[in-house]
C-alpha cells in the first residue's frame, strides 16, 4: 500500500525547546601549523567558552565534526580528538559528511539541545590537513568507487572542473563573472584575523593564474588548511543568563543526492535546494531572496558560491553571477555573501570551516563581526556547506529575533 508521505522530513517534530548560540571560536587557518588537532580544538573551545562566559564544567554534551580520517592519518579520529575538544567524561559524538560537516556539526548540536537532552552543548570542528603527504589532495584519490572510478585516477579538482564547465555551459556564464567571487572573498578576508589567503587581486589575476584542471585555475580554488572552530548552543533559560543578544537557530536542513555522481546533472545543486527547503520551512521563510539578509554559502571554489546561492534560492538559476557583478553580494550590498572572506580567503580546513560559515553568521547577527560587519541591518541569515561526493547539502538558518 502506498502511503502519503510528507517528502520534507523533520517538520512536524516536537521540539522541547528553542536553541540559541551564545559563543563561537576560531583558530588561525594556515597551510601548516605546529599545533596538533587536539591543541587546535582546545584553542577554539577556549575562545568560544570565553565569549559565552562559561567554563568547561558548564558543558553537558559535545559534538565533534571532522572530515576524512585520512587527513590526520588516524582512524577513530573522533576519539583521538576527544580530550582537546572537552569531550572527556561527558556524552560525546563525532559527525561526518565530508565537506558538509562544518554545517552538519551545528545541526547535530541543535538536536542535542532542541530535544531537551542537553541545555548546553559544545560543537567543535577540527581539521589538520597538512599531516597528509605527499599532498592533502592525495587523500581524495580514495573517496571514489574503487571499481568504476578509481582506476581512472580522478581527483577532486578535475571533478569540480567538470561541474564548473557544466554550470558555465548550461547558464552561459563566463569565467570572468565567476572570478569576481574570488576577488570579493579574498578582499573580504583582509578583515579576518584568522585568514590564510587574504589579498587584493583582480579578475585578470584569476584568469592568468596557474591552470590546475581547466577551466579551474589556482585562484579559483580555496587552499588546504589546518584549523579548528567551536560554537556553544544553549537552551533559552541558559541564554537569558548569559547575554541580552543571543542568536537563535531558526531552521536546519540536510539532504543527500545519489552517490552515482555521474548520473546527476551537475549544473544545479539539488541536494542544497532540498536541504534549504527543509530549513526554510522550519524557519517559516517563503521568499529567501527577500527574507534573508546575509548569507554564507559554501565557497571552496569561486563558482560554488554562485552554484550554492542558486541552490539556496537566493538567486534564480544562472542569476548569481549577475548579482555578484552588480555588487549585490558585496559587504555593503543588499545581500552580502561570504562577508567572512569565505573558504577562498580565510582558508579551507574542511570541517573547521564552521568558523567562517555558522560562526560568522552568528557574529554578523549578534553585531559582533567587527570590521567584517555588513553595512545593512540584519535579522536573518543562512549558512550552508556541501561535500561527500558533491552530494550533501547542509543548511542552517539563524535569526536574532526569536
Amino acid at each position: 500500500m502506498l502511503m502519503e508521505i510528507e517528502r520534507i522530513k523533520g517538520l512536524n517534530f516536537h521540539k522541547k525547546q528553542d536553541v540559541a548560540i551564545v559563543g563561537a571560536g576560531i583558530t588561525t587557518f594556515k597551510r601548516r601549523l605546529n599545533e596538533t588537532g587536539k591543541e587546535l580544538s582546545y584553542y577554539a573551545v577556549k575562545q568560544a567558552l570565553e565569549e559565552a562566559g562559561l567554563g568547561i564544567e558548564d558543558i553537558e554534551m559535545v559534538v565533534m565534526g571532522s572530515a576524512p580520517d585520512a587527513f590526520d592519518g588516524l582512524h577513530m579520529k573522533g576519539e583521538y580528538l576527544l580530550d582537546g575538544s572537552g569531550g572527556s567524561d561527558r556524552p560525546y559524538m563525532r559527525v561526518f559528511v565530508g565537506g558538509g560537516t562544518g554545517v552538519f556539526a551545528p545541526i547535530a548540536g541543535y538536536w542535542h539541545v532542541a530535544s531537551g537532552l542537553a541545555d548546553v552543548c559544545l560543537v567543535v570542528c577540527e581539521e589538520k590537513m597538512s599531516s597528509c603527504h605527499p599532498h592533502p589532495q592525495s587523500a581524495f584519490k580514495y573517496i571514489w568507487d574503487p571499481i568504476l572510478d578509481r582506476p581512472l585516477q580522478p581527483n577532486l579538482i578535475w571533478i569540480f572542473a567538470l561541474e564548473m564547465r557544466r554550470y558555465m555551459h548550461v547558464n552561459n556564464i563566463k569565467h570572468e563573472d565567476i572570478a569576481l567571487v574570488s576577488v570579493k572573498n579574498k578582499a573580504n578576508a583582509l578583515d579576518h584575523p584568522a585568514a590564510q589567503l587574504a589579498e587584493r587581486i583582480t579578475v585578470e589575476d584569476v584568469l592568468n593564474s596557474e591552470p590546475m584542471a581547466l577551466p579551474v585555475r589556482r585562484l579559483d580554488v580555496s587552499p588546504p588548511s589546518d584549523g579548528a572552530s567551536a560554537l556553544i548552543m544553549v537552551a533559552p533559560h541558559i541564554a537569558r543568563q548569559l547575554t541580552d543578544d543571543p542568536v537563535w537557530v531558526a531552521g536546519v536542513g540536510w539532504a543527500l543526492d545519489t552517490t552515482w555522481w555521474t548520473n546527476r546533472d551537475l549544473y544545479f545543486p539539488r541536494y542544497v535546494a532540498e536541504a534549504a527547503r527543509m530549513a526554510y520551512k522550519m524557519a517559516h521563510i517563503t521568499e529567501p531572496r527577500k527574507e534573508i539578509d546575509v548569507a554564507e554559502p559554501y565557497d571552496p571554489f569561486d563558482y560554488k558560491e554562485l552554484h550554492h546561492m542558486e541552490g539556496l534560492g537566493l538567486a534564480r538559476k544562472g542569476e548569481a553571477p549577475i548579482l555578484t557583478r552588480e555588487g549585490v553580494t558585496a559587504r555593503d550590498g543588499d545581500l552580502p555573501t561570504c562577508p567572512s572572506g569565505g573558504l577562498l580567503g580565510v582558508g579551507n580546513p574542511i570541517a573547521a570551516t564552521m568558523g567562517v560559515k555558522v560562526a560568522e553568521l552568528y557574529w554578523q547577527l549578534a553585531y559582533r563581526a567587527g570590521k567584517r560587519q555588513v553595512a545593512k541591518e540584519v535579522t536573518r541569515g543562512v549558512a550552508q556547506a556541501w561535500g561527500d561526493l558533491m552530494q550533501v547539502g547542509t543548511v542552517v538558518v539563524l535569526s536574532n529575533k526569536r
Binding site: P146, I157, L162, R166, W260, T262, N263
Partner: protein
C-alpha cells in the same frame, strides 16, 4: 598559538613519520561481474533497466535506488555525448602533467546514466559539450575486465 610565523616545511618541526600499511580487495559485485564479463569477452556494454519505473542505469546495478525494485540487463551501444569535460594539467600530488589529460562525463545513449572517462584522438580546443563520442577498447587479449579496458572515448 603562532599567528605570524609561516611554516613552509613541516619536516622542520618536531615530528614523527608514519604510514597506514593496509591494502584492500574490492569485489565488483553482481552487476559489476555481468558488466565487466560482457565488456571483456564480447566488447559489449550492458545497462540495467528498472522493472518498475523504466529508468535505465549505467553503469548497471541490480536495484533501482528510488523504487527499490529489481532491474534487468539491457545491451547498449556504448556511444554517447560529452556532457562536461576538464583538461587536467596537475596530477593528484599537484605535480605538473607533461601531457594534459582530458576527462569527460559521457551521457550514454539509451540510458539515464553517464560515466566519467578519458577523451582521446582529439585536441582540447576541439571538444564541445554535446559532442558525439564512442569508446575505444583494448584488444580482446589485453582486456582484463576492468573499466580501463576502455582506453578512452573518441569522436564519432
Amino acid at each position: 598559538m603562532v599567528f605570524n610565523e609561516k611554516i613552509v616545511d613541516a619536516g622542520e618541526l618536531k615530528h614523527i613519520e608514519g604510514k597506514i600499511e593496509l591494502y584492500w580487495i574490492y569485489t565488483s559485485g553482481e552487476a559489476g561481474d555481468r558488466f565487466f564479463k560482457a565488456l571483456k569477452d564480447e566488447g559489449k556494454f550492458l545497462a540495467a533497466k528498472c522493472t518498475c519505473c523504466g529508468k535505465t542505469y549505467f553503469p548497471p546495478r541490480i536495484y533501482c535506488e528510488y523504487d527499490f525494485s529489481e532491474t534487468e540487463f539491457v545491451e547498449i551501444s556504448g556511444e554517447g555525448c560529452v556532457r562536461a569535460f576538464a583538461v587536467a594539467t596537475l596530477d593528484n600530488n599537484e605535480e605538473s602533467l607533461k601531457n594534459p589529460e582530458i576527462y569527460a562525463i559521457i551521457d550514454m545513449d539509451g540510458t539515464d546514466g553517464c560515466i566519467i572517462h578519458l577523451l582521446g584522438e582529439m585536441d582540447a580546443e576541439d571538444i564541445r559539450v554535446g559532442m558525439k563520442v564512442k569508446p575505444v577498447l583494448k584488444s580482446k587479449e589485453e582486456r582484463e575486465g576492468r573499466i580501463t579496458d576502455i582506453l578512452y572515448f573518441k569522436p564519432v
